[in-house]
């Protein structure tokens, strides 16, 4: 999980991802952030995301991001 927080902080250092959930609903992450995040995750966890999994609801919280990494074969 630490790595996910690290990636999110790299994208938006001004936002407190630990205290807040709903990063899509809150408009913190936009579509380009999601692509950047998936790129970082794929590199780190040596996985390739299924295109159907790259949807906003899978990136709304750290927990949902961890779940989609696991779904695509990554180990958290």
């Amino acid at each position: 999980m630490e790595k996910i927080y690290e990636f999110l902080n790299e994208l938006h250092p001004e936002y407190d991802f630990i205290s807040n959930e709903g990063v899509i609903e809150d408009g913190v992450l936009d579509s380009f952030d999601i692509i950047s995040l998936v790129t970082m995750i794929e590199e780190e966890y040596d996985v390739i995301f299924d295109a159907l999994d790259i949807v906003p609801e899978n990136f709304n919280s750290v927990e949902s991001i961890a779940n989609v990494i696991r779904k695509n074969g990554g180990t958290i």
Binding site: I24, G27, D30, S31, V38, T39, E42, F49, I54
Partner: protein, 298 residues
């Protein structure tokens, strides 16, 4: 705020469109905003942005969008951002409309699609962003504002797109008040400097790594093809002994042999390309699916 327009339309998609709309909301423009979303992807966020801010959101086929725009009778400022449609003359000729397009190059260089990849592949020293008026030719209208970006060999297509999006938003914030007031000036593009129009189906060297290139050209090609998870141009490929291969990961090493050397490691499925004292390592090399049908490793 003294406004020259009765409404604003944003046509397009993507994070820059979304961030420009957020800025319009932040400065409280007293006229309605309408979004026409085009090129919708799984990760589009414009619809939810519209819903949470009470903005009219329209998602219809492009023919219907253009019919709507051609019939507008109010003074309207239209921003075309992240939109791949070619706007027809019936819309451009509507005198009630001022149509402004965002393009991610220093026009007149690199008009058309995927400019970020072409500037990297062609090893340009600079690129930039342009906000310009739309006329009957693609990316050829009068320039409102440009910003230059010096390029170095750290940029990939994805990182350059991201950098350009940020710069484009900053520039949008600079020009928006004058645009809304109708007091902004513009100037013609130098037609003699106009670059070749890049079409959507064009990919640098058709996506094929040429092993006879210099190491710098090889690296430029690989960075140009790198859209991360956006995968806009698909996977690059290389032909070795008449077999086409693709790979999972590319690593640039700042050391290597001065003479050309190609090392294929069949046990660990990687390819090392050494030239000019540098090395490129292609990891996870595998035969391309579809060529032989099996997609097997080396």
């Amino acid at each position: 705020m003294n406004l020259n327009y009765e409404q604003v339309i944003v046509m397009g998609s993507g994070s820059l469109a979304s961030n420009c709309i957020l800025h319009l909301l932040q400065i409280n423009i007293p006229i309605p905003i309408t979004i026409y979303e085009t090129n919708i992807t799984n990760i589009s966020t414009l619809e939810s942005l519209a819903a949470s801010n009470g903005i009219k959101y329209i998602n219809v086929p492009k023919e219907e969008i253009f019919l709507d725009l051609a019939e507008i009778k109010k003074n309207t400022l239209i921003f075309v951002i992240g939109c791949y449609y070619i706007i027809p003359s019936g819309v451009i000729e509507n005198r009630c409309l001022s149509i402004i397009n965002y393009h991610n190059s220093l026009l007149p260089k690199h008009p058309g699609r995927n400019a970020e990849a072409w500037v990297i592949f062609e090893q340009e020293k600079t690129t930039g962003i342009t906000w310009h008026y739309v006329d009957e030719k693609i990316d050829a209208g009068e320039i409102i504002i440009q910003r230059e970006i010096p390029l170095d060999d750290s940029f990939t297509s994805l990182s350059l797109l991201k950098f350009q999006n940020r710069l484009a938003l900053d520039t949008f914030k600079v020009i928006i008040n004058d645009l809304l007031a109708g007091t902004i000036s513009s100037y013609s593009q130098n037609k003699e400097l106009r670059g070749r129009l890049h079409l959507s189906n064009e990919i640098p060297n058709n996506g094929l790594l040429d092993l006879t290139w210099s190491i710098q050209k090889i690296k430029a090609f690989l960075r140009a093809m790198d859209y991360g998870a956006l995968r806009r141009m698909g996977q690059p490929k290389v032909i070795i002994n008449r077999v086409k291969y693709t790979w999972n990961k590319t690593v640039f090493l700042n050391q290597g042999k001065n003479r050309d050397e190609l090392t294929v490691n069949e046990d660990e499925n990687y390819l090392l390309i050494s030239k000019d004292g540098e090395t490129v390592k292609l990891i996870g090399l595998r035969q391309e699916m579809g060529e032989s049908g099996n997609g097997k490793n080396l």
